[in-house]
């Protein structure tokens, strides 16, 4: 097996302006925020992103002016309301948006996973989602029944960035037995050409090998793995820590204006040399530990 454990900066170095990136996480869970802050710090811009239920990662990229195009099912802040920076940028016409429904986006990731240019759905007949996007959603007829169907284009991307629970130095990533799910991350990773994974903790390969059915992203799919404790902060990693309500509230407060959001990013991304500096900035591990949740007796993370 090939060792793939590198620094966050080295892992993300190939991601350059103009790239298409698929971003993992769903709502306030496992957004790869440390990786996104690193891209913002480096000034990467002109990105196309593909997401599931996007929150902080996509909204910070929008605040940084780094988003050229967005394709996904949802961008908001879940229980905190709309996504202020994404909303502002879309309303200004700065981001080209292509909306997809859940079956449509799943079909797009699955098509990439299966090496196909498209997969069929029949969800979006008559909708403006299809009407506004003939480039990626095309009508065709079922070869068996003749019924009306829609072909949705494979979600191919240059890079895929996900944040996981634990992994080994070979890039094998495992989930806890009892966790929240809605797990688009395996699907996004399987669809990826170059998959970059940050994890809360690197554990010995010997531990991984004992329970191979818990590996949801095999190292074979992974280009680089990085240990980034609290890498989803200020959102949660289910079964490990909760979202940081105070930090999220502050983020949203400051994001009421573009200038406020820019100042936030200056402070928490651009002026911060590394993820460990970020941890220090938000109060150190002792502050973050307060977000930890009680371990479940069934889990082994």
């Amino acid at each position: 097996m090939k060792e793939k454990l590198v620094s966050l900066e080295d892992a993300l170095a190939p991601v350059t302006s103009g790239s298409t990136i698929a971003i993992g996480g769903s709502l306030l869970r496992r957004q790869p925020n440390a990786a996104i802050r690193s891209l913002i710090r480096r000034g990467v811009t002109d990105l196309t992103v593909q997401t599931w239920a996007a929150t902080t990662a996509t909204d910070m990229l929008a605040a940084a002016g780094a988003l050229r195009r967005y394709e996904g099912i949802y961008t908001g802040m879940f229980s905190y309301g709309l996504a202020p920076n994404f909303r502002r940028a879309v309303e200004s016409g700065a981001i080209e948006v292509r909306d997809f429904s859940e079956t449509a986006m799943v079909a797009r990731f699955r098509a990439a996973t299966q090496g196909l240019a498209f997969l069929p759905i029949k969800t979006l007949l008559g909708s403006d989602i299809a009407d506004k996007n003939p480039e990626q959603i095309r009508p065709f007829s079922c070869p068996f029944t003749g019924e009306k169907l829609q072909a949705v284009a494979a979600a191919t991307s240059d890079f895929t960035i996900v944040h996981g629970y634990v992994g080994d130095k070979y890039g094998n990533v495992q989930w806890p037995i009892v966790r929240d799910s809605d797990d688009i991350d395996q699907m996004i990773a399987s669809a990826g050409k170059r998959v970059i994974v940050t994890v809360e903790k690197i554990i010995p390969h010997e531990e991984i090998k004992k329970r191979p059915t818990l590996t949801y992203i095999p190292g074979n799919w992974v280009e680089a793995i990085v240990e980034v404790p609290y890498g989803a902060h200020p959102v949660s990693v289910d079964a490990m820590y909760d979202e940081d309500d105070a930090h999220l509230t502050d983020y949203l407060e400051r994001s009421r204006s573009a200038a406020g959001a820019a100042a936030y990013l200056d402070e928490y991304a651009r002026a911060i040399p590394s993820h460990s500096a970020y941890i220090a900035k938000v109060g150190g591990l002792s502050a973050l530990n307060r977000l930890d949740v009680q371990p479940n007796e069934l889990n082994h993370v």
């Binding site: 769903s26 709502l27 306030l28 869970r29 599931w52 239920a53 099912i73 949802y74 961008t75 908001g76 802040m77 879940f78 229980s79 905190y80 309301g81 709309l82 994404f86 909303r87 879309v90 309303e91 200004s92 016409g93 948006v97 909306d99 997809f100 429904s101 859940e102 079956t103 449509a104 799943v106 759905i121 029949k122 969800t123 979006l124 007949l125 008559g126 909708s127 403006d128 989602i129 506004k132 019924e147 009306k148 989930w175 009892v178 966790r179 929240d180 799910s181 809605d182 797990d183 688009i184 395996q186 699907m187 949801y216 949660s236 289910d238 909760d242 979202e243 949740v293 009680q294 479940n296």
Partner: protein
């Protein structure tokens, strides 16, 4: 919802207090749930939007379970058949992670596939715009390319209307919401009315009921135009028409929305939502 008295857990209404509007519509929805139904409930956001998208639907399904539909179930977020007798007391992630359920499929595609193969019977949808044919918009107000208000996107709402036989729309009555034509069709309801939905290739279905804080509406079978089904106690037809920016079908005689029974009220208040988490605002 101005006249929906906001009560804290401390002064939850006793079983003799009159029903709040939330309780009224919860009971109406509960009666729509049949034994064996699988209902799709979204994860919602906060405040009033949470009550509409999550609070009222979960309370209604639980009420139905306790009264006439013991095997009715919900798919909520990532949980298939979460235990509705112990709804989490807050919205923090760990509360969801620990909520016990029959199943929590690891791949979100499982839920999408269940939608597409019509495994759901009922779903609940809120929206920023609803038009006279029941099309929904949760994507953008104004021009899609440079919208006046960018909303959240689509989620699985297009699937609900495409594949679920009995979708129930839960929204407050408001002229800005109930528009002649939505700015963007996120979810295809009865499209342009008549048979236009079927002609677009969709299977029969589309929105079944529109539950609001003033009235219950449904759709006239032929034209598929929105129709007033009942007015809530004390609400006049004029009040309702005033809060719609289109003319709905108005039957000659409109009944009053039936009040919850004492038993229903008691279960909602004392057993299902004693801390007023679900029907808070």
């Amino acid at each position: 919802m101005s006249e929906n008295k906001i009560v804290s857990a401390a002064d939850a209404p006793g079983s003799t207090a009159p029903a709040t509007t939330n309780e009224l519509v919860t009971a109406v929805i509960a009666r729509e749930i049949r034994d064996g139904d699988l209902a799709f409930v979204g994860v919602g956001t906060n405040g009033r939007a949470f009550t509409l998208a999550v609070g009222i639907p979960l309370t209604a399904v639980r009420l139905a379970q306790m009264l006439h539909a013991p095997s009715a179930a919900v798919y909520w977020g990532n949980l298939l058949e979460p235990d509705l007798s112990s709804v989490p007391a807050d919205l923090k992630q760990d509360s969801f992670t620990r909520w016990q359920a029959a199943a929590s499929p690891s791949d979100t595609g499982v839920k999408c596939d269940m939608l597409a193969r019509r495994a759901f019977d009922v779903c609940f949808d809120s929206a920023a715009q609803v038009d006279r044919f029941g099309n929904l918009n949760i994507t953008a107000i104004g021009d899609y390319r440079k919208p006046k208000v960018r909303l959240v996107g689509c989620l699985a709402q297009p699937e609900h209307f495409a594949f679920v036989p009995r979708p129930i729309v839960v929204v407050d009555l408001d002229r800005r919401v109930f528009v002649e034509k939505v700015d963007f069709i996120t979810s295809v309801g009865h499209l342009h009315g008549g048979r236009s939905r079927e002609e677009a290739g969709l299977q029969p279905g589309g929105p079944h009921l529109v539950v609001t804080d003033k009235a219950i509406l449904d759709f006239e079978p032929e034209s598929k135009l929105m129709r007033i089904r009942s007015l809530h106690p004390g609400v006049t037809l004029e009040e309702v028409l005033d809060r719609l920016s289109f003319r709905p079908v108005v039957p000659d005689s409109i009944p009053t929305t039936p009040l919850p029974t004492e038993r229903e009220l008691d279960l909602i208040r004392r057993v299902i939502d004693p801390n007023r988490v679900l029907l808070r605002v």
